[in-house]
């Protein structure tokens, strides 16, 4: 008996107006694993990531075909409420994007928009999330200062804390460390390894070393197609496809 996959895409096609960005993507994501999506710029890995929380709905000309399931429910079926979906599937963006609000209010935001009013609960949830994002010690004395005063790395961990506060099941990360320096990047990577005990994590990265360090499974995208997906170690040491091998050895991209 195999366990059902947390996230599963079947024959997924994606179009921006007339041009197709994803071709027949079939990819499964196991619970509590970190999956890295790698590939050259424009290969469709970010587009695929944004299909999982339906962020692409914001683009008027975007169109999805095929099947994307979370816990075996088709997230593009009309019964699924996109607002609920996004509170179950958190997202961390490429550039740290805290709101111009206090640190506390940034983390509390997801709870407030859910209509939660219980102050004690919000406060404990904020603290817990900052703790999980390994940021609490650095900011506990200035929770009510503006989040924009934090460093880039701190801002990105704040964005992770903000996503964790609503207790999502899946965490999407779109090149979360690409705008950060090496020290901040290392902190984010350590954090990812801790978080996978609780969350299913899907991370887009340009950095192959990063993929090798943090992920259990790696999927290689090229020109809108999923070329190969395998256990990270296998993919990086014994790739089955020539294109994968060329990419990971640095022959292009």
């Amino acid at each position: 008996m195999t366990e059902p996959m947390k996230v599963s895409s079947k024959n997924l096609d994606f179009f921006y107006g007339p041009s197709q960005a994803l071709y027949d993507v079939n990819l499964d994501f196991e619970q509590n694993k970190v999956t890295a999506l790698i590939g050259p710029s424009g290969c469709g890995k970010s587009t695929f990531l944004r299909c999982i929380n339906r962020m692409n709905d914001l683009i008027p000309i975007a169109r999805v075909q095929g099947n994307l399931r979370i816990d075996d429910v088709d997230i593009y079926s009309p019964e699924v409420d996109v607002v609920d979906l996004r509170s179950r599937v958190g997202m961390v963006f490429q550039k740290p994007n805290p709101f111009p609000k206090t640190i506390f209010e940034n983390v509390a935001y997801g709870l407030r928009v859910k209509g939660i009013k219980n102050k004690a609960y919000i406060a404990s949830q904020v603290e817990k999330s900052l703790e999980s994002a390994a940021l609490l010690d650095e900011v506990k004395d200035r929770l009510h200062d503006s989040a924009l005063g934090l460093s880039g790395g701190q801002q990105q961990r704040l964005c992770i804390a903000r996503a964790l506060a609503v207790e999502p099941e899946v965490l999407l990360m779109d090149e979360p460390a690409s705008a950060l320096d090496p020290v901040a990047t290392q902190k984010i990577e350590e954090l990812i390894l801790q978080l996978k005990t609780t969350y299913t994590i899907i991370i887009v990265t340009h950095n192959m070393q990063q993929a090798a360090r943090v992920s259990d499974v790696t999927a290689f995208f090229f020109m809108g197609k999923l070329i190969e997906a395998d256990a990270t170690e296998t993919l990086f040491t014994k790739p089955r496809k020539q294109q994968t091998s060329d990419y990971i050895t640095g022959r292009f991209g």
Binding site: G90, M91, F93, N97, F99, K114, L148, R162, V166
Partner: protein
């Protein structure tokens, strides 16, 4: 300067008449510098003319009007066929009209801007609405005055009143407020919207909790610019709200009012004592300028404060 000189000399020594590899050199450095300085000085002169125009206007009004201004001038009503007394009813009337116009135009303008920038999908409807707004901005103010007279004063039977004037001014200020609000909304980075939606917020929650607060300084600036422009307008109110002389301060939306621009206009063109009231005219103009500049200054200070609080 000195550094550049030596650098150019050393370059010449290295490369001679021609550049490296004998490639022809472009414009000689001296001529390039001359062009530079001509253009730069021209631009600077253009900017200076701006500042000078404002300075001359202010100086002119101050020199001729300051004698007229005293406590009595600011706090009493005119008497003796407007040759004596003050301009309190005009100040009050101008403020009431401006604020009344904003009470109507600000919410409608901001709501329109939110719709246009956040909700409307690009297409024919949006193009038509935008065309309408742009054309509204281009309509001469006297046309608004006639429209107000025909529609609010006569057709809706409001009479010549504060209400009719405020509504007319509101219609005229709408494009200003919509324009400023749209600019402010556009300047809010999309990453804020994505972050909010990604956390499970609805579109309206995103707008209300994230986008509007971030755009607020710009939106309020638009509101106050609209207010100060409305306060200074003559044509839209001369048929709809303003009268030559009102014995009392406005007591209801249906009162007739005196306004500063109309007061100045009347004293300067239609009074029986045009020459004798010159100081009063300049005094009134000075008060009007001070009022408008004061509002703009308040807007600037308020915006700076909001910005500081946000960052």
């Amino acid at each position: 300067m000195l550094n550049l000189q030596t650098e150019s000399i050393s370059l010449k020594q290295q490369n001679g008449q021609f550049g490296k590899n004998g490639a022809p050199q472009g414009t000689p450095k001296s001529r390039r510098r001359l062009y530079q300085s001509i253009v730069f000085n021209f631009l600077r002169a253009a900017a200076l003319i701006n500042g000078a125009a404002l300075a001359i206007i202010l100086w002119f009004m101050l020199a001729r009007g300051w004698r007229a201004i005293n406590w009595e001038f600011l706090t009493t009503a005119p008497y003796d066929s407007m040759t004596k007394g003050g301009i309190l009813p005009c100040i009050v009337g101008t403020l009431c009209l401006g604020i009344g116009a904003m009470i109507v135009a600000f919410p409608i303008g901001v709501a329109s801007a939110i719709y246009l920038n956040e909700y409307a999908r690009p297409g024919k409807v949006l193009r038509v609405i935008r065309l309408g707004i742009n054309n509204l901005a281009g309509v001469p103010s006297v046309v608004f005055g006639l429209f107000g007279l025909a529609f609010f004063v006569i057709y809706l039977e409001m009479g010549v009143s504060l209400l009719a004037g405020a509504l007319t001014l509101a219609a005229m200020s709408l494009p200003v407020i919509i324009g400023a609000s749209e600019e402010a909304l556009k300047s809010v980075p999309d990453t804020y919207r994505e972050a909010s939606l990604g956390l499970g917020a609805t579109k309206w929650q995103t707008i209300y909790r994230v986008v509007l607060p971030a755009a607020l300084p710009g939106i309020l600036t638009g509101g106050i610019l609209g207010l100060s422009r409305a306060a200074g307008e003559l044509a839209p109110v001369m048929f709809t709200a303003a009268v030559f002389f009102a014995p009392h301060l406005p007591s209801s939306p249906f009162s007739e009012v005196m306004t500063l621009p109309y007061h100045i206009y009347v004293l300067a063109t239609a009074g029986t004592e045009i020459e004798a009231t010159r100081p009063l005219q300049y005094g009134s103009a000075l008060v009007l300028i001070a009022l408008v500049l004061g509002m703009n200054l308040a807007a600037i200070i308020y915006r700076a404060r909001l910005r500081n609080r946000l960052s």
